[in-house]
């Protein structure tokens, strides 16, 4: 014990709190997404040109008929936000899964096989890291067009390097470990070693990284939508709603504000959950950010 050792205090926002609050938000969003048809008061695609840009119920000119007001085509904002959670979550999770699979596979091969595999794969990863990922996404969406599948593909491809790096480092360090050497000595095949020994070790870290990446994917989708490269209208994604609202900020600020709020809350929830998870997995990292 020395004079400047910082004795850890029991923090106010411990990992438990973070995971609970964050997890709660995420769970809430997922439930909302699943039960959207039951919860949403209106059809999110139902236009009503005479009810355009009505303010939310608590503002002058608003009414309880539309709690959060209407958008530029008279569609109920609350319903659109609820349905929007579906696509935001779907695109976020699917693209994360895609990039996780792609990146982990690449990292595994690079780390396990080493040699030329390592050179090629990791150089490729480095090359892509050097590229602003949104530029890559713009390039690809401009080429392929904006559909859910394309978007998931594009977002997934833009981020696989993160997983590759993590898995690569882990694989390399784990491969040196005694238990792996022992298994190889006993004649275990590569696949067995990877499956039974390496992957389980990686699951905690991967889970943390994946969780935090979902948040990033959601944000990327909103950015692409703002640039007009997301899912086509009239699809209700939070990114689309935010983009629509951004051009009418003066006359109907609630559209962008509420969509922005929805995005912030969900992403914040995911980040909190992820951070809490990371502290749980690696207590030392309580002090470190993502």
């Amino acid at each position: 014990m020395s004079a400047t050792t910082l004795r850890p205090r029991r923090p106010l926002f411990g990992k438990g709190f973070k995971m609970t609050l964050g997890g709660g938000i995420v769970l809430g969003a997922v439930l909302l997404a699943i039960f959207a048809p039951l919860v949403a008061p209106y059809d999110p695609y139902q236009q009503s040109l005479s009810m355009r840009m009505k303010p939310p119920a608590w503002m002058a000119g608003g009414s309880p008929a539309h709690w959060l007001g209407t958008d530029a085509y008279g569609r109920d904002l609350l319903s659109r936000l609820i349905y929007g959670s579906r696509l935001s979550i779907l695109v976020g999770v699917a693209s994360m899964l895609f990039s996780c699979l792609l990146g982990s596979a690449a990292g595994l091969v690079a780390g396990y096989k080493g040699g030329r595999w390592e050179q090629v794969i990791m150089r490729f990863a480095d090359a892509q890291m050097a590229f602003p990922d949104i530029l890559l996404a713009i390039l690809m969406v401009a080429a392929l067009g904006g559909s859910a599948v394309n978007l998931i593909f594009v977002l997934g491809v833009s981020r696989w390097m993160i997983y590759a790096r993590v898995v690569f480092n882990l694989t390399r360090s784990l491969r040196q470990r005694p238990f792996v050497e022992a298994a190889t000595l006993y004649g275990a095949s590569d696949r067995y070693v990877i499956w039974r020994h390496l992957l389980p070790q990686m699951v905690p870290v991967l889970t943390v990284v994946s969780t935090l990446q979902v948040a990033q994917m959601v944000l990327q989708e909103t950015a692409l939508s703002y640039l007009g490269l997301g899912l086509p209208a009239p699809t209700a994604t939070w990114g689309n709603i935010l983009a629509e609202g951004s051009s009418r900020l003066f006359v109907a600020p609630w559209i962008a504000n509420l969509a922005g709020l929805a995005i912030i809350i969900l992403v914040w929830g995911i980040n909190m959950f992820g951070n809490g998870l990371r502290e749980h997995v690696d207590p030392k990292s309580r002090l470190a950010p993502r």
Partner: protein, 513 residues
């Protein structure tokens, strides 16, 4: 025993220390930034929505013409209402059926001091009509075969056939100085435009701004302002904000929804004019479902156009009367009426025609090219959805759009607007085979179009156009939506400026009080 320091700030850091650090950091951030050049005299700042990519003359986009026409003028100019008025030519007369003689204005000087003569006009026009030169707006004066100098201020233009809209066509061709053109070449014209216009080229920063100074010796009278800066501000919200904040004096393309922002400000007001554009939704009539004329007609009943005009355009513009032309265009057929909104009838007709409701119908459109284009498409798609059609909106970028158009593969429906500039010929051409923009073919329409184009008898022309509009109405190669207004917003202190129906900025008489 180690003291429990966990309750105190471990390093006794004072607020002062942090404050000092912040000051240093903040000062560092302010270094090395450009200062704007201060100019004396009046500077008029215009906020444009889209810039041309270069100052290359002859690109038939209005964004391009708008900037180039500040420095270079045409023989006949268009005014804000879209009519051809004398420009560098004072008058014209027909020598025979195919030859027109122009008397040119005397005493006009180019910005480099040299005098404008028929040589310059002839050189420019002969350059334009030569297909090897790749001049973009060649099509506007395509019938002309030869420009000949008669004397210093007289020019003859010979066409291969009667060219009734020769004046309108000429309004798109900006005249260059022959000597300058020969010296710097075509690329030189783009790098540094030089002409007879009211303003002199100063500086061009692509994607940012275009700076001009006044031509004090302009034949039409020196401009009232000393400098013009046209800035590109693509985001409409930012553009409006710049006007309200006093950074710009004039802005183009005011989105309808942001009009309240303009009108509620004390510094700016709206300036509006009917433009000659007919906004339509064009069908691909080669493939199902739109190869069936009954389907096309049914779709016409499905859209509540008046509601869109009322709500999205806030009652501005006009409803196209079941035809391509706006009501002020020569050739407009007053006997035609738009089909009423009748969704039940539309649905019944579609069922009767065997329409497959599950077919995806993406409506392709650019964004921000026409007023409220995306909004109108969205509203139309919504109305189609209401009768069970699987309609979506596909917003495409400029490059992809052009590719789709050139290949004539723009999807089952796409939105486009055709300017008539006051005469049916200019807009009606786009439904002829020769335009390479129409997949719909009708022999009678073609025949009438050629007839109308080959005679100077205005009554005969009008009859032909009336019949052509009837054909369009009956066959529905497109859904005819709206004549759009052209919306500008200006600072209240600006005088001498008016909204233009063809999106060209006319600033020679503009002044800031």
């Amino acid at each position: 025993m180690p003291t429990d320091r966990s309750n105190t700030a471990p390093f006794g850091l004072t607020r002062r220390a942090l404050g000092r650090a912040a000051l240093v950091g903040g000062a560092a951030a302010g270094l090395g930034l450009p200062r704007p050049a201060q100019a004396a005299g009046k500077t008029l700042v215009v906020g444009a929505s889209v810039f041309p990519d270069s100052l290359r003359p002859g690109i038939s986009s209005f964004a391009s013409s708008s900037l180039i026409s500040q420095t270079n003028e045409a023989l006949y100019s268009r005014n804000n209402a879209g009519q051809a008025v004398p420009g560098l030519a004072e008058s014209h007369r027909q020598l025979d059926e195919v030859t027109t003689q122009f008397k040119l204005r005397q005493g006009v000087k180019f910005h480099d001091g040299s005098e404008f003569t028929a040589e310059d006009a002839a050189y420019t026009i002969n350059y334009v009509i030569n297909p090897a030169n790749g001049y973009g707006s060649l099509a506007r004066i395509a019938p002309i075969t030869q420009a000949t100098v008669v004397d210093k201020y007289t020019l003859n233009l010979t066409a291969r056939a009667v060219f009734p809209t020769i004046l309108q066509g000429l309004t798109n061709i900006q005249i260059q100085s022959k000597a300058y053109f020969e010296r710097v070449g075509f690329d030189g014209l783009a790098a540094r435009p030089m002409g007879t216009g009211p303003f002199v080229f100063q500086r061009w920063v692509p994607g940012d701004r275009y700076e001009l100074t006044a031509n004090k010796d302009y034949w039409g009278g020196a401009p009232k302002v000393d400098r013009i800066i046209v800035r590109e501000i693509p985001d409409p919200g930012t553009r409006i904000a710049s006007l309200v904040a006093g950074e710009t004096h004039i802005i183009e393309e005011v989105p309808i929804d942001l009009i309240p922002q303009v009108e509620s400000s004390s510094v700016a007001k709206l300036d509006e004019i009917v433009s000659s554009v007919g906004l339509i939704l064009t069908y691909d009539v080669r493939v199902p479902p739109f190869n069936n004329p009954k389907v096309r007609e049914a779709f016409d009943y499905a859209i509540d156009k008046e509601a869109i005009r009322r709500e999205l355009l806030k009652g501005r513009g006009e409803l196209l009367q079941g035809q391509l032309l706006t009501s002020t265009t020569f050739g407009f057929n007053p006997a035609l009426k738009p089909r009423p909104f009748d969704p039940d009838k539309a649905k019944a007709m579609l069922r009767e025609a065997g329409f497959n409701f599950r077919t995806p119908i993406p409506i392709a459109t650019q964004s921000g090219k026409y007023l409220s284009d995306v909004d109108i498409c969205n509203a139309a798609a919504g109305m189609l959805s209401n009768i069970g059609v699987n309609a979506t909106v596909n917003v495409v970028e400029g490059g992809v759009w052009t590719q789709m158009q050139r290949a004539q593969r723009a999807g089952p429906m796409y939105m486009i607007g055709w300017y008539s500039l006051g005469d049916a010929d200019f807009a009606a051409v786009w439904f002829t085979e020769g335009s390479r923009r129409s997949v719909w073919k009708n022999d009678e329409y073609e025949r009438l179009f050629v007839e109308a184009r080959s005679t100077n008898d205005q009554e005969a022309r009008e009859r032909a156009y009336h019949r052509m509009m009837e054909i369009l109405h009956a066959e529905n190669p497109a859904m005819f939506l709206f004549g759009l207004p052209s919306l500008y917003a200006v600072n209240k202190k600006v005088t001498g400026f008016g909204a233009a129906s063809d999106k060209i900025l006319r600033l020679a008489a503009a002044d800031i009080a």
